[in-house]
Symmetry: C2
Subunit: 728 residues, 2 copies
């Protein structure tokens, strides 16, 4: 019976005039939430106060709430056919039409592009994007005279204000401009105003702009490419596979105007086939967003990211729903939608809710992928390995070899982070910022974001001579990037990502290779890490591991400090207290910790003279802005070149309700670097059962067809391709 | 239909020979789990290896698993009537009957009472308690000859071994002996061996013991009271209201033999009416356990407790089921049972599962209560205030004014901890121990348990001259205890717990009063804290607050240290690094933090010269045994007497998925101590709305009928009883 109903829904997909009870549960509950909100608002007077306040202030919050209420009311009219909602939208818009023409620029004058409704034009554009949707919902219902009044007295002036009157806002290649383009284009589509639509798609022609127009950083507005507008944004904002150079935290924010205008164009200008534009770049950007999250759904905290932003954040609902409905109907996305608990109030959201109710959902099991960075896809990237172990539990490795990531980038070349079902295992620190929390620097980036969070030592990658990559200078960083060396994910039991940086340190080549190995000898996939640094001059090499948890035990002695001092004076080291110094044996060292109910054991190849420095941020932190998470550095001084090799096991469990420690010990009893030459590195590690794994790796070529021969201790090994695994 | 079935079940309550499908869901699923375990075990050989290993070793784990398998198999025969399970138990026991008589003492010789099956007699007693239940289940089914063989060759010798052959194990007032008593008594009940039952109930007569029998600490075995056995344990192990002096973590462990033997006696010796013994002490002990948990269900980490032990731990299932079935049928306990996800495989568990399936569960909403400590209930106690705010969210305050708590006690007199739905707000550190985690000192108490976790400064209570209570000497501590001064929980909007210590510091009286105030002006209940210390000699007063979370802001300046040094040299201070020193104004100081999605603001009355020391454990911690949780001390030096007053607000929320900070600021704009004399203290605090609360408190008498008159600034206040609240 329900099945029949759903089938009918699917066949008709006409959204107008239904009772809520006719909709599938998730759509109905989302609609009911919107109705509750709008009904409550309709019992109050609709206020359109003269703008005076900054973000957080009264007039700002009222106008922000208005766009949400109008958007919901428009959707309610469209979905229920109840005219009271259309009338409410009309009357609200008429109030704006009376007031808006009388408003001068917002009095705050704090932005490079001051708005009229809000302190910045960006928020005016947000308003117009969302209100355009409400206007579209009631447009045909309106009396022609009202329509004409709103078009000419409210919306066209607003669209001109956001574009030709503020080209420094509208015409950049920048996510602010994307909002402006989308706002102008979406209202143009509603009013069938072709001039606005063309302006949105292609920007204001450079010939019509003042010669010396500058943005807030004094850059020339006219871009290098000479292009502007929505299509230029689509071409230049993403790499060819949808990666956003600032990382997923910013992609989640930037994606909204792309998706909303894109969807409107798809509906109103089907001939453009915008969804297929640039090889379906909008679908790829959605994929890129959804693939950059850990097994709990939290986005990888690459570059400046506040931790905890998630696949399940409200902002990501439209990525999931449009991703499903417009690109491929991946049933894994239905699981995400169910967890999100709401859908978009449009035909895409209805399809998601309908298919979900029809039992089409499958587990969301994102795959391994190597994203390229840069508009042409030739500026490094991010490699993500995912292994599915017992119970389909996901272990996720992220290696970052991307471009600098503009102002929000970190000096984190070849750094990695590791995740499992419990969350972060080896963390990226993220940003030093509490977004929108006034007590912490007004919610802005904190000074420690620059002095700590961006610095190389805050990441799981090699630091040379206690100096950050590119000398910690973004101007140098923006000219360089590492490159992917090899990515092999076809064999899901032995996956590789490897990258090379020639520029992070002058005169040094850094190469990292990381494998996720799945083998019945291990409870969970094992991380194998090889880091080769080659140079001419002796230097201090320090490789940090930012583990999450409580140190359990080491197999070497260490001396703790009872007076803590900063480890050094710059490049993030000024924030590290040295808590202990260990002197491992000259063959291998093991560090065990416990985090989030599970045990972890890292076994590292060591050399004579190596030290392990146990550190913790907190020094030179005058306002308690830094988290006190532990880490350790494997330190090797006075070497020109050096190779680091480690294996990380996850094993066992402990629950304080049961107090039984299951498999608390690692199982690797030996490891060593058998060969380390310019062409080849050979790694070996041994399980307590006696089983030994040998990894042969070609440092010089990743050509999959290249044949290799390597002699080790009189035995000759032959293989084809970049790496070879032998279990014996 | 289901309802009818359940009603029939309730009426018959005959457990024998049913198919699983006949049982209510929770009982059926528990039974299915047991069946799965036993069926798997029955496919293997049943092993009874000659004992050689310590805990964790092979023979130890096999015999431990055997007792569980036999217990489950017995239950399966009883509940399904399938004879294969009875035969399995019989054959297993016959194997033990062959082997046991041939075993010498366990070869380890590491215990004051070495066992035969295990390294300590305690574990032999565990074995016998559980296996007695299996034996009871098949006793009537057995052929008489087999019964006789098992009785005479296995169980009677084992019972004698655990009692008359090891009186130093059997005859103490101690939880080890309770296990011994229960084991001997339960097997005696099965075999109808009256001599064993009497021995279990009353112990071995002192006249039959060697004169100078000593236990492991060289104490005489014959107790002060001259009593031994199960009834003596019932009389002496708990306070009259069921409180266990070592706290809930140990109560949870100690309660099993009490409940299992108690239940067996109730069935086999109904004339004894053991369930009503000592005013239903077993029911009170269950209540005490279930009432000593925070809103998430975690037990308060009083004394030596590992954090995370919970109402939902497997060990607590029988407390909930027997508490429900045998004492009062509180429908709140059904919610706990549902969350536990299993029931006891007996008629009590069936009743719980049946009533749960019948929809009788109600939310578990534990109430405020003041527990007394000591066998006579005159050795202080623990006061628990619970306020239910918006959405019935529970805020829980625990003040500890109990006796020392024997070897597991802490120097924590008048300390408190605070909890809300998110967990710990103001924490008690708990123990420095990882139970059963071999890497950390073999799972034993760590040295830092003594040097840090037990010390006064590790708790939220006043420290004088950087010395722990009772000079940190358990021998002094065991001779004293604070006393409850007042407990008022009838008015749920204004609840009080107050206690006095005259002995923690020589020549000083400490009095603390804490209120939970519920008022519409505040989102959550507010904690009001008054701490008066009076003495003759000037001293340093330091009041710690061990907050959970990230420091947000203070309303005073502070200077952070870039070189961290231990704060002092003893009494726990040697473990504290001083991170910053603040100098608040001479009227009040505010500290704001963010923890677990919520904001907290503590506003404190200050005096000229007060300092705030921001501290963190980690100094003199050579093996990284201590957690780095932050705290601050309000320090007032060179005063003989001093009074501390603070108010703690919980407010707002922040979720990184939404990035909206709701109500991030506290609302208290002023507070001061208006009067502080020997008879009276008057406290005032003001809300940003202008509303002021005045609390009048009688320091000298808590008599509820006493009339008081107090003049403050020319105004006369009159009231009756220990305290009075005026909102104006
Ligand atoms: Ca610029
Ligand atoms: Ca003793
Ligand atoms: Ca002040
Ligand atoms: Mg980073
Ligand atoms: Mg390039
Ligand atoms: Mg304690
Ligand atoms: Mg007394």
């Amino acid at each position: 019976m329900q099945q029949i109903l759903l089938t009918i829904l699917l066949l008709t997909l006409s959204l107008s005039g239904r009772a809520q009870a006719d909709y599938p549960p998730l759509f109905a509950s989302t609609l009911a939430g919107a109705q509750e909100q709008v009904d409550a608002a309709m019992e109050q007077a609709f206020l359109v106060p003269t703008p005076v306040d900054m973000a957080g202030g009264y007039t700002h919050e009222v106008h922000k709430q208005n766009w949400k209420t109008l958007e919901n009311a428009g959707a309610l009219y469209r979905l229920t056919g109840e005219e009271k909602y259309a009338a409410f939208v009309r009357d609200g818009l008429l109030q704006y039409a009376e007031a808006y023409p009388t408003w001068p620029l917002h009095p705050t004058d704090r932005s490079y592009a001051t708005g009229k409704i809000f302190w910045q034009a960006l928020n005016d554009a947000n308003w117009l994007v969302y209100v355009s949707q409400a206007y579209a919902d009631i447009y045909d219902w309106l009396e022609p005279a009202v329509r004409t009044k709103l078009n000419t007295e409210l919306f066209r002036p607003m669209a001109d204000f956001l574009s030709v009157e503020n080209p420094q806002f509208f015409n950049r290649i920048h996510n602010h401009s994307t909002w402006g383009n989308a706002a102008v284009g979406m209202i143009g589509l509603v009013m069938d105003d072709e001039e606005l639509v063309q302006r949105a798609l292609y920007g204001i022609p450079a010939s019509e702009l003042p010669e010396d127009l500058r943005d807030d950083d004094s850059g020339r507005i006219v871009s290098e490419s000479g292009r502007a507008g929505f299509l230029a944004q689509l071409d230049l904002s993403f790499s060819p596979d949808g990666y956003f150079t600032e990382g997923p935290y910013y992609l989640r924010y930037a994606l909204s105007p792309f998706l909303l205008f894109g969807r409107a164009l798809a509906e109103k200008r089907p001939d453009m086939n915008i969804l297929a534009y640039r090889n379906s770049i909008l679908g790829k950007a959605i994929d890129a967003l959804l693939l950059e999250a850990d097994p709990r759904g939290d986005f990888f905290p690459l570059n400046d990211s506040q931790k905890g932003m998630s696949l399940y954040a409200p902002e990501v609902v439209k990525s999931v729903d449009y991703g499903y409905a417009l690109y491929g109907r991946d049933p894994g996305l239905l699981s995400l939608a169910r967890e999100q608990g709401s859908v978009t109030l449009d035909k895409e959201g209805l399809l998601v809710a309908t298919d979900l109710a029809a039992g089409k959902a499958r587990p969301f099991q994102p795959h391994s992928i190597a994203f390229t960075d840069g508009p042409d896809g030739d500026e490094g990237g991010v490699g993500i390995l995912r292994a599915y172990g017992q119970g389909d539990e996901q272990t996720t490795l992220v290696m970052k070899y991307s471009a600098q990531g503009m102002g929000h980038g970190h000096f984190d070349k070849l750094s990695y982070s590791l995740y499992d079902l419990t969350g972060e295992v080896i963390q990226d620190y993220g940003a030093a910022r509490w977004v929108n929390i006034d007590q912490k620097g007004g919610g802005r980036y904190l000074p420690e974001n620059q002095t700590w969070a961006k610095q190389t030592v805050a990441h799981n990658t090699l630091v040379i001579d206690r100096t950050s990559h590119y000398e910690g200078d973004i101007r140098i960083g923006e000219n360089h990037h590492p490159d992917l060396y090899a990515f092999r994910a076809d064999d899901t039991t032995f996956q590789l990502v490897s990258a090379v940086s020639e520029n992070a340190y002058d005169g040094r080549k850094l190469q990292r290779a990381q494998w996720l190995l799945q083998d019945t000898a291990f409870e969970h996939p094992v991380l194998i890490d090889l880091f080769r640094a080659t140079g001419e001059r002796p230097a201090v090499h320090e490789l940090p591991t930012w583990y999450m948890g409580q140190l359990m035990r080491t197999d070497f002695g260490y001396t703790t400090e009872n007076i803590l001092q900063p480890l050094d004076s710059a490049h993030g080291y000024q924030h590290l207290f040295l808590e202990a110094t260990g002197r491992p044996d000259a063959d291998m060292a093991t560090i065990e910790w416990f985090g989030n109910g599970r045990f972890y054991t890292q076994t590292m190849a060591t050399e004579s003279g190596d030290e392990i420095l146990f550190v913790r941020p907190g020094a030179n932190d005058p306002e308690f802005n830094l988290r006190r998470d532990p880490g350790f550095l494997l330190r090797r001084a006075d070497v020109a070149s050096s190779t680091f090799f480690s294996v990380l096991e996850s094993h066992g469990s402990y629950n304080p309700r049961e107090e039984v420690a299951r498999d608390p010990f690692g199982t690797i009893t030996g490891l060593r670097i058998l060969v380390d030459s310019e062409p080849y590195t050979a790694l070996e590690f041994t399980h307590q059962s006696g089983t030994t794994w040998l990894i042969l790796f070609s440092n010089a070529t990743a050509d999959p067809d290249q044949e290799h021969t390597l002699n080790i201790n009189g035995q000759s090994y032959q293989w084809r391709g970049v790496h070879h695994l032998i279990k014996q």
